[in-house]
């Protein structure tokens, strides 16, 4: 079983984010943190590979000070150890910065043969990190995997693309992103949650990564964020008689030129 590392992001739960009606700005003051949805699939996949093939999986995350809230959550889901980088640069980091930091950390930690990520983060969904890390580390990259298996030092993956399923085989180190359909993340059992505090976590200081200041400056900058609000007619038919509703809808559809 290759030495496995899974990268994850601690994001805000978008369900808790409210849109302020006055100016459509976002209010995330009540938003709780969560491990990004697709990263949960990556963590689960790593845990399943270890259950099947032995070995252990480590986790790596880069975020602001809140990243410390993620550690036990992560460790309750299968990884044996979590490495974390907490830095203010994460607040506005774009995919370029994120990949620079993660790649530098992976280089520092040493030989991981199998690096797993989710296909994208649930907040920004840039879908860039996996390819970028691979490019920076000079490793092959397999994205959008719906199935993964390991045989010795060979990794087999099935990619699910728009028009086909593609089987690929890679020998040696590889960076892989997984789709949400690859598995169903576990609900951590009580023992798994409580066992998390017994597992180690280690901070990696960003200053020790040998990065230049410009590596931490985002190249893609968010200028304004506005809540998307649907402006629709909202003509809803609620008569007790279904036939009446249907008749009214038929008239509406005709008026829109749809029938």
């Amino acid at each position: 079983m290759p030495k496995c590392l899974v990268c994850y992001k601690w994001t805000l739960d978008e369900q808790d984010i409210k849109i302020r009606p006055e100016d459509l700005s976002l209010d995330s003051s009540r938003a709780k943190g969560k491990i990004s949805d697709f990263d949960r699939n990556a963590i689960e996949e790593a845990a399943l590979l270890v259950e099947k093939n032995g070995g252990a999986v480590d986790a790596l995350t880069y975020g602001t000070a809140t990243v410390k809230q993620s550690l036990k959550d992560c460790l309750s889901r299968g990884p044996e150890k979590v490495y974390w980088i907490s830095d203010a640069s994460a607040e506005n980091a774009d995919a370029n910065v994120t990949a620079n930091v993660l790649a530098a950390a992976i280089r520092k930690l040493g030989q991981y043969d199998l690096i797993l990520c989710g296909e994208g983060s649930s907040d920004q969904f840039n879908q860039q990190t996996t390819s970028r890390i691979a490019a920076l580390l000079g490793l092959p990259c397999v994205t959008f995997a719906s199935k993964l298996s390991v045989e010795g030092d060979t990794v087999k993956a099935t990619r699910k693309l728009e028009d086909c399923q593609e089987d690929v085989v890679v020998k040696g180190s590889v960076v892989i992103s997984v789709l949400s359909e690859i598995n169903k993340p576990r609900i951590p059992s009580m023992k798994q949650v409580l066992g998390a505090s017994k597992k180690p976590n280690e901070e990696i200081k960003i200053a020790d990564l040998g990065l230049k200041p410009e590596d931490l400056q985002p190249k893609a900058v968010r200028k304004s964020v506005k809540g998307f609000v649907m402006q629709r007619k909202n003509v809803i038919y609620k008569e007790t008689n279904a036939a009446d509703n249907v008749a009214k809808l038929k008239v509406s559809l005709a008026s829109e030129g749809l029938i």
């Binding site: 036990k72 609900i187 009580m190």
Partner: protein
């Protein structure tokens, strides 16, 4: 002081909510309609360690602590208070064995209970005036080697599904409750007859029945705690159970207020969502407030239990509060939802029936206000 749950407690709560959403939400309505014991769900609960939450890890429990426990019960109750009842009654039986059992008894029962292979029940109530008194009182007659039980226990939850019951019998009918003694009785012991399942108002799916004991022979080793020590045991166990039951009430109330609030935002009358109307706002605000305060009080009592400190007054306060305001939470949310909410296709009627089952006074003679007043006057 910190009012927030610890990280572990929060993660435990999150797992319980995720479990509720995945396993309980899809079956809650059918469970209420058919009342069939949800075997598969109980197996899933066991798999996630919910049935050994309070037990120490040397018997395979999760040793999560009581605050985590009430958090789980509240979260499960948001989806199905009936299932939470199954867990509660099982856990109180396991708790009793953990607190008062011998090393042998713990070894005999607890590992299986932690794994959910053996379900527990708690048989204290009787049809007579108090346990140990009356024609049907459960009497334990001393024999050469052990006891023989004769009599009847009433309203035993998990009856028929439990593999072991914590049973309270009087060793001396003349002394009645003063001679109450606790025993561990296996469900398959000869003479243990579970009666017909009761059709309860709510919490359907958690079976309730009378159990008749006809010459049930028990070895000495079945004694739980000291002879005639049953009153103290049942008092403490019921006090702990009352805090867990309060968590059920809060969970049901929370589910009700969330549902009513979502409804009020959508339901338009007089050109505006009813959530903008003062009458509706008042109802929702009161329920949300009662729920919030009850949760804080219940966590306080739970923390005292977890720390082994005196907790009976705080537990009584929460019980007293919820007896008065528990069902009101459902009365108020039903007002918010009006005619639409009155239909059995909506959740409030079920929650209404369920919450009433969590506000019942166990021992009217020792009602909570009596204890509270005694603590201050």
């Amino acid at each position: 002081m910190n009012f927030e749950l610890t990280e572990e407690q929060q993660l435990i709560g999150q797992s319980a909510r995720d479990f509720g959403k995945e396993y309980l939400e899809p079956i809650a309505v059918e469970l209420d309609q058919k009342g069939e014991f949800p075997k598969k769900v109980v197996q899933a609960l066991a798999k996630h360690d919910f049935l050994g939450l309070l037990l120490p890890d040397d018997v395979g429990g999760a040793a999560a602590g009581f605050v985590s426990y009430v958090e789980v019960i509240e979260d499960l109750s948001r989806y199905s208070a009936a299932v939470a009842s199954i867990v509660n009654n099982h856990t109180i039986a396991a708790y009793s064995i953990q607190e008062w059992g011998t090393a042998d008894q713990k070894k005999q029962y607890l590992p299986a209970m932690a794994k959910g292979e053996l379900l527990g029940g708690f048989a204290i109530f009787e049809h007579g005036p108090t346990p140990g008194v009356g024609a049907d009182a459960l009497v334990a007659t001393k024999q050469d080697v052990g006891y023989v039980l004769n009599g009847k226990k009433a309203f035993v939850r998990n009856a028929g599904e439990a593999g072991v019951y914590v049973v309270f019998a009087t060793t001396d009918p003349a002394l009645g409750a003063k001679a109450l003694t606790a025993f561990l009785v296996k469900a398959d012991a000869i003479g243990v007859k579970v009666g017909e399942k009761l059709e309860t108002m709510g919490l359907k799916g958690c079976p309730v029945a009378d159990i008749t004991f006809e010459n049930v022979v028990l070895p000495q080793a079945a004694l739980l705690g000291a002879v005639n020590g049953g009153a103290a045991i049942s008092a403490k166990a019921l006090a702990v159970a009352s805090v867990a039951e309060a968590a059920q009430t809060v969970g049901i109330g929370q589910a009700a207020v969330e549902h009513a609030a979502a409804y009020a935002k959508q339901r338009v009358q007089f050109g505006k969502p009813v959530a903008t109307l003062q009458a509706i706002q008042t109802l929702l605000a009161e329920v949300a407030t009662d729920c919030h305060l009850a949760r804080l009080g219940l966590r306080n009592a739970a923390l005292l239990i977890e720390e082994g400190k005196p907790f009976e007054v705080e537990a009584a306060m929460i019980k007293s509060f919820l007896v008065r305001f528990g069902s009101k939470m459902l009365l108020d949310t039903c007002q918010v939802e009006g005619g639409f909410g009155y239909s059995e296709t909506m959740p409030l009627p079920r929650l209404f029936r369920d919450i009433a089952g969590t506000n019942l006074l166990d021992a009217p003679g020792d009602f909570p206000e009596k204890l509270i007043a005694a603590s201050i006057a």
